[in-house]
Amino acid sequence: MTMMDAAPAAMQPENNDRAAITGLSAAMAKWNALPAWLRWGLSAAIGVLVLATVQTVTGDTDRLTASSASESMLRWSIPVLLAGLGGLFSERAGVVNIGLEGMMILGTWFGAWGAFNWGPWGGIMAGLIGGALGGLLHAVATVSFGVDHIVSGVAINILAPGIARYLSDQVFTGYTGGSITQSPRVESAGLLTMPFLAGGKIGEWKSPDWLGDIAAWDIFFLSDMAGFTRGLFSALSYFSIIALAMVPLSAWVLWRTRFGLRLRVCGEEPSAGESLGVNIYAYKYAGVIISGALAGLAGAFIVIELTSIYREGQTNGRGFIGLAALIFGNWRPSGILVGALLFAYPEALSLRDLDGTASSALRLVIVIGLMAVLARSVMNARRADAVIAGVLAAGMTLWYVTASTVPDWFPDILPFALVLLVLLFNSQRLRMPKADGLPYRRGS
């Protein structure tokens, strides 16, 4: 949805649609003047409208806006969201964290170990601590010893699976159901279904399911909206609620507190911070350790809420997708949330999409997205972008017309492909922290 809030166009219209283009950019300016929450809400509504339209036009699926889709989307987005927020704290402090994947692996192992011994909340704490230890290692290497950030991250990604496997061999093989590659089953932290909105229970009394009722009316867009929203409020894990609360919390800490200001100085202009007496090393350490802790939480979430078990290799590159969400979200918490939800959506759809119709219809959604990019590029007179978007949209349309089903790997690669697309069209608009990834030494 970040594609929607475009900056005012560079005014270089070369054709005679000048009036129309001026009108469009005036509309854009008005759009940008809206308050952020309204823009996000409207963007989401436009997204659902697109999904509902595609659903109605193709007519062979009703899963795109079903509450099961949004429910799974939310659940599957949490690990990516937490990893992305982890990356945010590290990179805002000027340390690139490729090691998120490794820290997440530590989080899965420690999460399972803690959950097995002390229940889900113990697992959450243990995962957090395990990830934070990984962060500490990264901080020692990059901040104290000035090792290149990518190098240290790669080393951690090599080290972490080895540690997890070694620890499993030492600990889990002793439990029934455990082995060197997996833990015994662990319990979830519990689910909450919102009363009234999604028909949750208050005590023993089952409240009415208002949104569910509206969704059952089967009215175009209105029912879609209701169904989709209902999914966001049903079977919501308490762990998910905590993770979602991290989004405003991170924004508040980073942009509204003294700690956050100093942390961001480390990522933008550390020498300026140093001259004002900020202990840059300490703040970088704090940022990277928080980053590891959040990545560890992401790992613990996978174990406790998604799979109920630790299994080797179960992070499956989600740390890297978290990094992708960070970039997609332009190093901002709200953007990371949008990125995580977008990346989780195809995966969530494919879970219940045994006949592949929903994933197939998703291709039309992508075509519409590419058309929007095309329109924007034409408006901004960026010919290369327009040509690329046009070719991609045409190719996707051709694929949709010629093949009625999509292969099962299609949802798996969509997050990666989406990030490449966003970088392809938006890399000039993304702004990473100025001193991100640069080595820093006190007094230099």
Partner: protein, 384 residues
């Protein structure tokens, strides 16, 4: 100003030694925690390492590690991180096996065709990242990570099924099998000239020669050609290089393409001399290990040979530790990770000590210069 021999030795070998010591200490601690005897463990490893079979296994393992390290090193020399070696070599191996498996040609031509296919595919896939970087300013670390994901969970999953060799009734579907004429002969004959016969069905891979050629080519390219000079110059100071007439975009693109081309060869040990096909149990993770080897060997053609041999020895030893019961095999991955982290930290420490020493020496020289030119000359002579 001349430095003492001891100091120069420290600058050159201090870091690897320090890293080895740290790794030994960590390995000892881990073994003690898991209740095994470290002396026994290291003893088993050392005893095993002197066997001819182990040396053959080690060389077979070091071969792809070394090629992967060279691929990463080409990028590093230009401050480019090609994290995508993983995806590039898997994709290249699949295409090379498929092309090699669908033709019959005289032996040298057939092998050459497989190798060329691998290089072209590897180079094209990394070229995508290079193109994205020079035309759209997309950071290569991010784009190669994403391209890895697309190659491994998308393209390969799709093509392995679409082009599957359905002649066998195996669950392990894979590419076509490269026929006899496309297989590279082993080097057992060469080994037996010098030593006893290799037992237990071990075969020293002929791809070792390709790895040697890659290493030599890398050395010549980087240190003896104009292109290599431009590459290093752009890596050290892109702006100065640009002022000196080196086109930065072209260098970035070419470095990515070269890196990917070499990456394409990483899977050739399996394709040309052990399994002759790409299947679902194809060796993975060599791309990331190669980055480790390149870092450990400091991107130096000779240094990476030692680093690759060390990592390969550790890999090969893991099985022995397990069988002899002296330690669990996971300890080897931990040792590798620790060596890597310890090495990069140690290099940084040694660099800082060296910088400080040089600053001190320069300051001393300036001071004696300003005092008396004649006495400084004599002190120079004295210290020399």
């Amino acid at each position: 100003m001349k430095m003492s021999l001891g100091r120069r030795f420290f600058y050159a070998f201090g870091a690897p030694l320090l890293a080895a010591i740290i790794a030994l200490v960590v390995a000892t601690i881990v073994m003690l925690i898991s209740g095994s005897n470290p002396i026994e463990g290291f003893g088993d490893m050392a005893e095993n390492a002197t066997r001819l079979e182990t040396i053959i296994d080690m060389l077979n393992r070091a071969t792809p590690l070394y090629i992967s390290a060279v691929a990463a090193a080409i990028g590093f020399r230009m401050n480019l991180f090609n994290i995508g070696v993983e995806g590039q070599y898997l994709l290249a191996a699949f295409f090379a096996a498929s092309v090699g498996g669908s033709v019959t040609l005289p032996a040298p031509l057939h092998i050459a065709l497989v190798l060329i296919t691998a290089v072209v595919i590897g180079a094209s896939y990394s070229g995508v990242a290079g193109l994205l970087k020079v035309t759209r300013g997309v950071n290569e670390v991010i784009s190669t990570i994403m391209l890895n994901g697309i190659a491994i969970s998308g393209i390969l999953v799709w093509l392995v099924r679409a082009w599957a060799d359905d002649s066998g009734a195996s669950n392990n579907i894979g590419s076509r099998v490269v026929p006899e004429s496309g297989r590279i002969p082993d080097l057992n004959g060469a080994v037996e000239v010098f030593t006893r016969e290799i037992s237990k069905g071990r075969r020293l891979t002929g791809v070792l020669l390709i790895a040697a050629a890659v290493g030599l080519g890398y050395h010549v390219l980087i240190n003896r050609t104009r292109f290599g000079y431009d590459l290093r110059a752009s890596g050290w100071n892109p702006f100065a290089a640009q002022v000196g007439g080196v086109p930065p975009r072209k260098m970035i693109f070419l470095a990515m393409v070269f890196s990917g081309g070499i990456a394409g060869l990483v899977g050739m040990v399996e394709i040309l001399s052990t399994k002759f096909k790409y299947d679902q149990s194809f060796v993975q993770g060599l791309g990331f290990s190669g980055i480790g080897v390149a870092l450990l060997g400091r991107n130096h053609p000779g240094g990476m040979v030692f680093a690759a041999l060390l990592f390969a020895l550790l890999d090969v030893s893991s099985g022995v530790l397990q069988i002899s019961g002296s330690a669990s095999r996971e300890i080897v991955i931990i040792i590798q990770g620790v060596i890597l982290l310890a090495a990069v930290v140690a290099y940084e420490i040694v660099r800082r000590i060296r910088e400080r020493d040089e600053a001190r020496l320069t300051a001393e020289a300036m001071r004696s210069d300003s005092k008396d030119a004649a006495s400084s000359a004599s002190s120079d002579l004295a210290s020399a």
